[in-house]
Structure formats: C-alpha cells, structure tokens
Point group: C2
Chain length 314, copies 2
C-alpha cells in the first residue's frame, strides 16, 4: 500500500492529550496518551503534544504521514491555527498552536474546535457517512455542536457557528452560566441535569434511581434505572430529550438540515432519549420541513476527537 497516506489526530483535552495514527478509512493503527499539563501553561502543553506526535511518527516508520490535525477545546481560528481561552487551561490567552507545531514538526498542522472535529469524524467515518448534511450535537458536561454542509464543516462567516447548546428554548427560563436564559445546556448539560434530577428525586423516594445516588448522579444511572422500568427515570430522560428537541427544531427551522447525529457522554444513555428527541423535533418544525427528519446516535464514541482531528488532514 505504497500510495496510502496517514494522518496523526490529536485530541487536546483539559486532562489528557490523546493521539492516534489514522488511515484514510478511519482505522486507528496506533494510539498514544499523556497528561496535558493544562495547569502548567502553554509551553508544557505544547511539549506534551509534540512528544505525542513524535511517538506516533516513530511508530509510523515508513508510512507516509500527510499531516497532523488537532481537536482543541475553546475558540479556534481554523485559518490561523490559533486556540483562544480553552476552558481549564491556565495562563493560556491566545496561542498559535498550528504555526508553532508546524515549525517544530515539519508537517502541515490544522487545528479545529473539538465539537467540529467530532462532527467531521462522524461525517467521514461514522453515523454521518451517508448524509452529506447534518447537525452534530455533542452532549456531555456542556452541549456543543457542529454543522456539516455538503460533507464539510460549516464555520459560519466569523468561525463560531454551531453553538447550539446556547439556543434559548425559553426566553424566561433557567439561568445559564453563559449569562443568558433558557439555554438548552442549562437544562440538559450533565451537571445541570444531575443536580435537577437529584432535587426532584426527593419527591420520588420509591424510584429505583435512589439506589444509585451514593455520590454524584450520573446520566448512566438514570438510564440504568429507566431500563429496569423505573417510571421517574423514564420521565426524566424523555424530558431531557424533549428539551434537546426544542433546540434542534430551531436549527432545523433555520437551516432545514433534517438529520441530527448525537454524540458525547450523556448521549450514550440511549433509547428513551432518541425517540423523545425525534418526536419533539418533528412537532416543533414547520410542516414542509418535516419529511425525513431523523435523529441518530453517533458511532465513534471517545475516538471522535482523534478521528476528526485526523480527518482534517485526510
């Protein structure tokens, strides 16, 4: 396979730098993982990224590596490779990650926002392979998004498109830490969701969910209880799905995309949620835009970051 080419994908998170050597089909040939040293400033973090890349390059041996893609939290300027204010990184400000790494590694380096990178991964290698256009939502601690149009990520004219977690589903709704009100993230982001459910649970002492709350309530617990037939837990999941559905319907009324793919930690909670989301989207989208509305789970799980980063190059 002399004419095959490969890319290195880096997923830069607040605790870990994950790297992978990826082929054109999205197969992961090698992985490498180090702490990101986010507390120690940009130089320490960049060194961790460099050693991840170098380790993967040495494993690649004679394989032709086309370049390195980086998926980073925070605000990313895709044109310049600058990463601004990633949450949980100290003394960061604004760092030209792309150009620093290009110089140091001698390969093309492209940088993308992590939610967009995950959307690209699903488009190239995951649930979006057969859909040229879709909304990708990453549902975890926060709620982020990426928009795929004609197989490519849509950045919007100023680069910041896809902040669907901050669509307000109730202008007079719950306050969000972003300063706005009724953001869907403030209803279903993991911490908000767990807190609200823990509070409501006091009123449902017979719920099977009670046995799971030794410590912090995880969405997985709600899902497990729901699968055991717990009505309160089902209600909570359906409600969460509805909340997300209202926001997705807003995107569909705006962009007429029809297809939504949902990834991220919380999305794994499963079947009760997807049905609720899809029903609500259909109910809240204008009739001529309803045909073919579909909501699917993402396929790539935790690998979406490194795969999407590699996908920037491949």
């Amino acid at each position: 396979m002399a004419n095959s080419s490969y890319a290195i994908g880096i997923d830069l998170g607040g605790t870990t730098v994950k790297g992978a050597l990826v082929d054109r089909k999205g197969n992961i040939l090698e992985t490498f993982k180090v702490p990101s040293f986010a507390d120690e400033g940009p130089d320490a973090v960049l060194n961790q990224i460099k050693s991840t890349i170098k380790s993967l390059m040495s494993h690649a041996r004679s394989k032709k590596i086309k370049g390195v893609g980086i998926a980073a939290a925070g605000i990313v300027d895709q044109k310049t490779g600058v990463v601004k204010s990633p949450p949980n990184f100290k003394n960061w400000g604004s760092v030209p990650v792309g150009s620093i790494l290009t110089q140091s590694i001698g390969l093309p380096v492209l940088v993308e926002n992590d939610a967009n990178a995950a959307a690209i991964a699903e488009a190239k290698f995951g649930s979006g392979k057969n859909f040229p256009d879709f909304l990708f939502i990453i549902w975890g601690t926060g709620v982020g998004g990426g928009i795929i149009l004609d197989g490519k990520i849509f950045h919007g004219p100023y680069g910041g498109a896809g902040e669907v977690g901050h669509i307000s589903i109730d202008y007079n709704g719950v306050p969000c830490k972003c300063g706005s009100r009724g953001c869907v993230e403030a209803y279903i982001g993991q911490k908000y969701l767990s807190k609200r459910v823990a509070k409501e649970l006091l009123k449902h002492p017979k719920s099977k969910l009670t046995k799971y709350i030794d410590g912090e309530l995880e969405p997985l617990h709600i899902s497990l209880a729901a699968e055991e037939g717990d009505e309160f837990s089902k209600k909570v999941l359906i409600e969460a799905g509805n909340y997300l559905g209202y926001a997705i319907a807003g995107v569909m009324n705006t962009m007429d995309l029809r297809v939504t793919i949902i990834g991220g930690g919380v999305s794994a909670v499963g079947k009760f949620v997807y049905k609720a989301i899809q029903t609500t989207v259909k109910n809240y989208v204008l009739t001529p835009l309803k045909d073919g509305i579909i909501v699917l789970p993402a396929a790539l799980g935790n690998d979406a970051g490194v795969l999407g980063a590699a996908g920037l190059i491949l």
Copy 2:
C-alpha cells in the same frame, strides 16, 4: 449603454401581480400592476403574470432583457421553478410556474420564495450591500426569513431554510397556527400582536393608543402613540423587539452571522423596536459571537419583491 442588461422582476402576491423592469444597479425603469385573480385558479394567475411581463417587454423596446424572476409566496423549488400551495391561491396544488413561463415568454425564468427574494434584493441593492452574510427577516402578517451567505441565498440542503418565524422562543409558550408552541410569529406577527395589544389595552385606559382603535389596531398606531410618549405603547414595542431578538439570537448561535436586516410592514414601526432587538440579541448570544452584532432596517420597502425577483437574473 448597448452592453447594459435588464431583468423583469415579478412579485406574485395573493391580491396583486407587481412587475418591474430593473437595471443592473437596481433602478426601476418601469412598473406594471394587475390583480392576481388568485381565486380563479392557476391559468388565470399565469395569464396575469404573462400580460405583466409582455407589457414590461414592450416598454423595454430595444433594451436587452436577460430574463424574468418571480418572487412567489408558498413553497418554491428553485431548481424546477415549481410553486406549491401558496396561501390564498385557490385550486393551486403544485404548479411548474418556471417552465410554463419560459416556454410562453421565450426568456429564462427563475422562481424564488418571496422572503428569499426580498433578502436577495437587500443583498444586491439595499441595506445588505456591504454585508456578504446576514439574516434577513420579513416581519408582517407572518414572520419569514432569508439567509444570505457570501452574497448568495442559503436554501439549505432541502430548499426550505430561513423559517425563522417558527423558531420557538418558549417551548411551553403560546400556540401557533402551524401547530407548534412559542413560535416567534405567534408573538409578533401582525394579527397576533394587534390582538394581544388590544386585549392588554383594556388595562391601560389612559394610553394614547386608545384613540387609534376605531377599527383594527395596526402596528403603525402603536408606533405613533409611542412617538407621542405613550409609555404603554413603548413597552409593547420593546417587548415585541425582545421577542424577535430571542429568535434571532438562536440563529446567531447556530450560524454566527452577526448582521440582521429587518423588512416587512411591521418593521417600519421604527426606532424603539430596533434598539430592543439588538440589545436582546446581544444578551442571548454566546460571548465569543457578540462582536459586531448589528440589527438594521431594510432599505427597499415594498419594492423588495420585484427587485429581488429581478436580482435572481441580474
């Protein structure tokens, strides 16, 4: 000006067919207007369009006409020129307006949804001339929209993008005639707005607005009373602006457009509204997307339809 070229723009409404001969700069050289005979079925309507086109062609004399653009209510398939279910047109169903007229007139005919056509007009000849990307909103009986990306209309992958009037600003809000809840149109569309204000006015018997309600309350009345210093009317306009702002913020969080241009009958009510819209959009948009957020009135008024239709060709 032998190498100048011209287009005919047709604005097909439920009561009137308006036509204009337009030059490349958006100057209207001739206009022609006939009743649309929307009650009498597609053949009668098409004849009215044909005679409008023929009249304008005869006025054009030796001028080179590149083609005819049609702005139509209802669902328009831009690729095929088919117009589906325009409201207030009888026995219509689905009519291939584009191909019928091309055959009959012998000129290229392009068809576009009326809100999109008005957006195109503002992009080419109006308030959007200096903005390659913006959200256009037409605020009248209903609330419609058109999205301009890189100077061109964004149809979305299925052709129906821009239905911003049906973005829900409160998932549990007022019912909309579309079947959903909390659609911004159900708060600020002309009839909804007038009805709600007339009801609230009963609690404000000293409002200057009372002198205007002999018959149906028009947004212009609210605006006139507000300009005379009437506090209730100011409050109503600011509230309407806020409602629209919540929906626009949803679009901005999704597409990161920053610029909004507002046209349509109700938008003419003026200064109190624009300031409220802009403030609310800024408050409800995620911080990194706030820079340069601006809300502007449209420039072309009632001519936006014919100008946008001509703009499809020019």
